[in-house]
């Protein structure tokens, strides 16, 4: 027979343990971490996708599906049977067949309905992408300015809350409690704050030139690839190097310098005379960024179709550039071309490399290759040479 049943009174003992955290939310966060990790692994393919265009608040939104924890189950049946309830005579058509193509088939869509939007900060993406990437051949330029910069150095008992070092404070608390019988969990004396100190550091100043062919032969797709490449390179370099100058040049049969925001909007028409861009870069270098003081990098994007009669001028300008620059990179937007890196322009860069200047070439044939190109250029020679 039953014993006495009873009500447990939750109000008596104050807050219940289940108020303190939500296990559902915890597991949901873990799910999101997994989604994030999956997105992160696929970022190279995603970063050039159209759905990934950055919005004004420096985030990109990726639509993702919930992960499904797979179970063994039967294949969806061609026809499935069920038991219903209510008015229905044999032969009644309760639901009309839909137009075929869009139908999901019988059953099997119970948890497929929801999508959610994962918002990723551009800074985070850049962090992930650029984790191990550096400007190639970076040198400490002789006679360079020394920069005053804050570095972390030691701990202090006073400070602002944002610099509280929890780990260190906890250590102090443990040490104190080891010698006290009934010490409080934390006292003000346990708290340790990170200290910043102003220190002088040798500067590695750098200027990066982004030159892009915007002639009519560049298709919409080509331009998009080139701009995507430049966008993520700029983001990455800015994140990695605080003192970095970026110069944007676009050219058709002549070349212009643009501000960063305009550069990503620019489109042009007309023929292709690459030498104009190289000369423009040289001019700017001489004028504003002395290669003796600045580490100089040039990245040039084109579909490779340069005018034949520009060959000599372009080669000469490029060689001069090569002798000044730490590194010259060329990306060929070969989305249409059959043989990437066999073009007129590619030839110019081949000669540049042969002349033992630090240079590299890479084809941009698809969104995925944007990342390959970035990796190819920025994973070599990461050490600073003095």
């Amino acid at each position: 027979m039953a014993g006495s049943s009873g009500f447990v009174d939750p109000s008596g003992s104050g807050r219940q343990w289940y108020d303190l955290f939500s296990r559902g939310a915890r597991d949901w966060l873990r799910h999101n971490d997994k989604v994030r990790a999956a997105v992160r692994d696929k970022l190279p393919e995603l970063i050039a996708g159209s759905e990934l265009l950055p919005s004004a608040d420096r985030t990109v939104q990726v639509p993702v599906r919930f992960l499904e924890h797979a179970r063994l189950r039967l294949r969806d049946a061609e026809q499935s049977e069920g038991v219903g309830q209510g008015a229905g005579k044999p032969g009644d058509q309760l639901v009309q067949p839909s137009d075929g193509a869009t139908s999901k088939g019988a059953g099997g869509n119970e948890e497929g309905g929801y999508q959610f939007i994962l918002e990723l900060k551009i800074d985070d993406i850049v962090d992930w992408l650029w984790e191990e990437l550096k400007l190639p051949n970076l040198k400490v330029k002789s006679g360079a300015v020394q920069y005053d910069d804050y570095t972390r150095e030691g701990w202090s008992r006073r400070g602002v809350r944002s610099r509280l070092d929890r780990r260190r404070s906890l250590k102090e608390a443990i040490k104190r409690r080891a010698v006290q019988d009934e010490g409080a969990a934390f006292t003000n004396d346990d708290l340790r704050y990170r200290q910043l100190a102003m220190r002088r550091r040798p500067a590695t100043e750098a200027v990066v030139y982004f030159a892009m062919d915007v002639s009519s032969s560049m298709t919409e797709n080509d331009r998009k690839l080139a701009k995507t490449f430049f966008f993520w390179v700029v983001q990455g370099l800015r994140r990695q190097y605080t003192h970095l100058e970026a110069v944007f040049v676009a050219h058709t049969v002549e070349a212009w310098e643009f501000a960063e925001t305009e550069f990503f909007q620019v489109s042009g028409s007309g023929g292709t005379v690459a030498s104009t861009a190289f000369k423009k870069v040289l001019d700017i270098a001489m004028d504003r960024y002395d290669p003796g003081r600045f580490n100089t990098y040039v990245f040039y994007a084109s579909d490779g179709a340069n005018f034949h009669n520009d060959r000599e001028a372009a080669q000469a300008a490029l060689m001069e550039l090569g002798s000044l620059a730490n590194y010259v990179g060329y990306v060929e937007t070969a989305s249409m071309a059959q043989q990437p890196l066999q073009s007129e322009t590619a030839l110019l860069f081949e000669h540049l490399e042969a002349a033992t200047h630090a240079a590299g070439r890479h084809a941009l044939s698809s969104p995925e290759s944007v990342w390959d190109a970035i990796r190819a250029f920025f994973s070599k020679g990461a050490e600073v040479e003095v």
Partner: protein, 455 residues
């Protein structure tokens, strides 16, 4: 806790016991509705962490926000039983829920499937599950999230693959088998053996030989992996054992859902009807809750493509009590599961009264009413309940190199496995089995298809 409810609860219990309801003491607890939602998601108040529960949690949250689901109570069998009531229930709702809980508690103590599973999990699944959660939390601390998750991915994907006919604590297979007995000597046998040229056959039969593993097809994949996976560490095996123990608890809940929900509904209706101590208006309010919960999915004039197990079970129990009396009903609740319950007691008259019909949904989305054939109706209701709701996948053989062969019995299931999911489950399994593993099924054309992972 509202003192009015406490008073009602005591009198409802006395009334229930006077009818012969027999149950272990139940501890009632009012909890916030957010916690109710988590219980519904996890199936247990405190359960091991896994990201898949997070996904279910969000679905539940969305449905809840959209007002599609409301949970009044959840009961866990055991001694004592535990009942959680949603904190936002009204007094009237809680009165009904208390009566409903008593029905569940009686069912859990007396139904043979429940009894068997409760004996095995020691009448304290709530505590056991919390202990598993702690154990797995400790494993996360020690071995890291990724390693634990890898084991849970595999174990939980096989959650339904137990053999409820076996004991929770099972002995390992015998290591050796006796050599088959020599064939009985007959005159012919002797003459045959003595034919010229066959003299050198020396019979030195091995006394016993190493037994194959498993000796016959094995249904309990969780057990097989926990005990026989070649390279699992002990803490990993413990996770498989923890998941398996919880599956043993969940099995009767699944196998008796129609009966159990029906029984609790029958009793809350009956106890309320007879509770003359309830003020009239409170009785009416409680009755309204009853009709909200226990009602066919279809409104008056329409047809619904699903049946409400509360309503179906409730109607079958009412007809049993009417036809055969309460004593017989008590006996049925002790002996049956949903299979025998529906096959024996969902009568043609009742099906007609409930306006049940069978329908067919074709791939183009069209739905057509088929018939009212009672045998077919019963089987269609029961079809999703076979084998704990999972395809029949059995372990056939573990070879000397540790490679595992799983076989899908597609004949009994009628069609092959969903190959995409089978691939992914095999990915999970391969990470714990750590030797070659293959799964045999058939494809959509009915041709044999093997999904496999090399070492």
């Amino acid at each position: 806790m509202n003192s009015a409810l406490q008073g009602y609860a005591g009198r409802l219990e006395a009334l229930a016991q006077s009818h012969g309801l027999d149950y272990y003491p139940v501890q009632f607890e009012e909890v916030p509705s957010s916690f109710m939602m988590e219980i519904a998601v996890y199936g247990l108040p405190v359960r091991m962490p896994h990201w898949s529960f997070g996904v279910r949690y969000i679905y539940q949250l969305v449905q809840h926000r959209m007002g599609h689901s409301r949970l009044f109570e959840v009961v866990f069998p055991g001694n004592p039983g535990r009942a959680y009531l949603a904190g936002n229930n009204s007094l009237q709702e809680n009165t009904l829920v208390t009566a409903h809980v008593l029905g569940h508690a009686d069912f859990a103590k007396n139904n043979s499937l429940f009894k068997r599973s409760q004996e095995q999990v020691g009448y304290r699944i709530v505590e056991q599950a919390a202990a598993h959660a702690r154990q797995i939390g400790a494993a996360v601390e020690q071995y890291g999230q990724l390693r634990v998750e890898q084991v849970l991915d595999a174990a939980l994907s096989l959650e339904a693959h137990i053999d409820s006919g076996q004991l929770l604590r099972r002995d390992r297979y015998p290591q050796y088998v006796e050599a088959p007995r020599p064939v009985q000597e007959s005159g012919f046998q002797k003459r045959f053996e003595n034919l010229p040229g066959s003299a050198e056959v020396v019979d030195a039969p091995l006394e016993r030989s190493r037994a194959p593993i498993p000796p016959g097809p094995e249904r309990d994949l969780l057990w097989l992996i926990a005990e026989y996976a070649p390279e699992l560490e002990e803490w990993e095996r413990d996770i498989f054992r923890a998941v398996r123990e919880e599956s043993f608890y969940f099995h009767p809940v699944f196998a008796c859902q129609i009966m159990n929900e029906g029984w609790a509904s029958y009793w809350h209706a009956r106890l309320l009807r007879e509770a003359d101590f309830l003020p009239q208006n409170e009785y009416l309010d409680a009755l309204k809750t009853h009709s909200d919960v226990v009602r066919p999915h279809a409104a008056e004039q329409q047809a619904s493509l699903a049946t409400n197990p509360y309503h179906l079970g409730f109607s079958i129990w009412e007809s049993i009590v009417k036809e055969h009396g309460l004593t017989r009903a008590f006996q049925i609740r002790a002996e049956d599961d949903d299979f025998s319950f529906v096959r024996n007691h969902l009568t043609e008259d009742l099906a007609e009264e409930l306006k049940l019909f069978r329908y067919e949904r074709s791939a183009d989305g069209g739905v057509k009413v088929l018939d009212h054939d009672i045998d077919a109706l019963r089987e269609t209701v029961l079809a999703p309940k076979y084998n704990f709701g999972a395809p029949a996948v059995l372990a056939k053989h573990i070879a000397n190199d540790g490679s595992l062969t799983l076989v899908h019995e597609h004949d009994t299931d009628g069609r092959g496995l969903d190959l995409d999911r089978a691939e992914r489950v095999l990915d999970y399994l391969h990470k714990v089995w750590r030797r070659p593993i293959k799964l045999e099924t058939i494809d959509s054309a009915g041709q044999p298809r093997t999904v496999s992972r090399a070492a």
